[in-house]
Every structure is written in C-alpha cells, then in structure tokens.
Amino acid sequence: MDDNQRRDLFPGAIEMMILQILKRGPLHGYGLAQRIKQGSDDLLRVEEGSLYPALQRMLKEGWLDAEWATSPTNRRIRVYSITALGKKKLQRELSNFEQMIEGFSRVMNAVRT
C-alpha cells in the first residue's frame, strides 16, 4: 500500500488496538507497530511514531505499565503491559464501539431501503 494513502482512524482507535494487542502479552513500541501492520495485512499503516503519544497518554491514565528491558537486537527498549484498569477500559471501549457500529449500519441500511 502506498505510504501516502493512509486510512484515517477514528479517535481512540489506536488506544483500542494497543490495549487489545497487549492483552496477549507485553510488547515494546516497535513490536506494537509490527503487530498493527501485520494484523491489518498492511491495510492500516499508522505513522509508527504516533504510537508513542498514545502510549504516554495511556501510561498517564494508568491503563499501561512500562518497564525498561533489552531487546533481542541488544537495544534498550521500554516494554509495555496492560493493567487491570486498562483491561476494564478495553471492555468498555469495545462495547461502545460495537454499539456505534450497530447504530451506524442501521442508519446506512435504513437509508438504502
């Protein structure tokens, strides 16, 4: 996919993806970016750096924990993991999101018929 042709995500989408990915296990920033790229089959390409402000925001909210570690490539990295608060937040966000999609598709269908 061409770099210039990026999909705009709705607000909070990056946070939701990060929380969902971290539920499976701790990861560092680069790892998260890889997961998002691979998981979306390259359909979504978030500007990789934009993960970090999102991570900072979530650290501040207490949804994540961070710890310094050394990567397999021998670089000092910060590994993020989800907190109990983060899990609760994800639950809430997912149900909100489902409601939003439901409402959205109902409107679309109603207009089509």
Binding site: Y30, Y52, Q56, R78
Partner: protein
C-alpha cells in the same frame, strides 16, 4: 522544590522517549535492510515511516506538561532570544531600571533621615509625642505640668518609657561666661533615644546629682 522535581521528571521523560524513538527507528531500519533496501535508503525510509519526531515529542509534552511551568519557560526562552538579538535595547532597559531604583532608594533614604526619622530612632513608629491643648483658653501646645507627666509615666502598661523635656538656658562660668542652650530631661529620655555613651553610663533617676556631658562642651 516541588516544581523543580516535576521539571526534572519531565526532562527524564523526554530523554526516555527519545531513546525509545531511536531504538524504534533502528529496528525499522534493520527490517528494511533485511527486505532489500540499502542501509542509507533504509535509514531514510525508516525516519519517514516513523514520522516527525519533534511533533511527537511536543504531543507527549502536551500530555504530561505542567501548563504554567511550560508557558513560563517558553516565555523566558523567548525573551532571552529577543534580548540576545537587541543587546543595546536590553542594556538601556536595565540601565533605566537600575537608575530608577537607585534614585528612588537614594531619595527615600534622604527623606527618611531628614524628614521621617531624623534622630534615627529604632522604633519611631511606636513613639508618641503628647501635647496639651486647652480649648477653652484657645491654647495649643501648652506646656504640661509635672503632675501630667507623672500621670503619663504611670501608664506603664501602654508605654515602655516616658520622658519629658524642657528647653533651658544655662550660664557656664569658666573664664569667659558663655550661654548654654539645652534641654532638661527626665531619666526616661535615654531609654527612648538610645544613644550609647562613650564613657560611663546615663543617669537613671537613682541619683539626683549626676551630669551628662557632650564633647561640645
């Protein structure tokens, strides 16, 4: 102290974030190299994929920052840059402030010694001069009597010391007679005006035959 600590934490967070950025870009470069890019191309592309580092740092500042401290620092930095660019203007401003403050200080100290507190009394604000007015006789600043002075003196819970003075003239008979103009004072006088005698001590009322001389004699 608290804001200093916060400021340090803020700097540390910045450094940590930059370290993370570096590691990320290097990992990304490695990935691109292994998928066939030349090292330089990979580095360039990795930077581009990562995005604008400065903007990202700014965004993270927005998340953590102490708004007032940040604004203050920015103002200081801005004024410093302005000052650096116009050294003569700054010099003029500083000079005019310095002269203004200096002149004010000089005038105030002159006023203080000439008008406000010419005698240099330590607690001049706590000092009261009692005068006698007799309205029926249309007398102002009338002389007070010894009885009135005693009354005042007995109000020890109000005043720490009370004194009365009276202008007097004496004749000094030492060869050529000369006229001395001075004050007759009660012992409390020295408690109030607090000069330090260079020799001996002041009279305190216990002895009625004491004398206090100045070098002028």
């Amino acid at each position: 102290m608290k804001w200093l600590l916060a400021f340090r934490r803020w700097r540390e967070r910045d450094r940590a974030l930059e370290e993370e950025f570096n590691a990320h870009v290097e990992d990304l470069t490695d990935e691109l190299v292994s998928s066939g890019y030349s090292p330089e191309e990979a580095r360039y592309k990795a930077r581009r994929l990562f995005g604008n580092r400065t903007a990202l740092l700014e965004e993270s500042h927005d998340i953590w920052r102490l708004k007032w401290l940040d604004a203050l620092l920015r103002d200081l930095r801005f004024s410093w840059r302005l000052a650096r660019r116009q050294p003569w203007t700054v010099a003029a401003v500083i000079a005019s402030i310095a002269i203004g403050v200096g002149a004010n200080a000089a005038i105030t100290s002159v006023l203080d010694t000439v008008l406000l507190n010419p005698l240099g009394i330590e607690n001049s604000g706590q000092m009261i001069a009692a005068t006698v007015h007799v309205k029926k006789l249309h007398m102002t600043d009338a002389e007070s009597s010894a009885a009135e002075f005693r009354d005042l003196q007995s109000m020890t819970d109000v005043f720490s010391a009370v004194t009365a003075t009276e202008q007097r003239a004496w004749t000094l008979q030492a060869g050529q007679p000369s006229r001395l103009i001075g004050l007759a004072v009660t012992p409390g006088f020295f408690k109030i005006f607090e000069p330090r005698p260079s020799m001996g001590r002041y009279f305190d009322g216990s002895d009625t035959t004491e004398i206090f001389l100045s070098y002028g004699l």
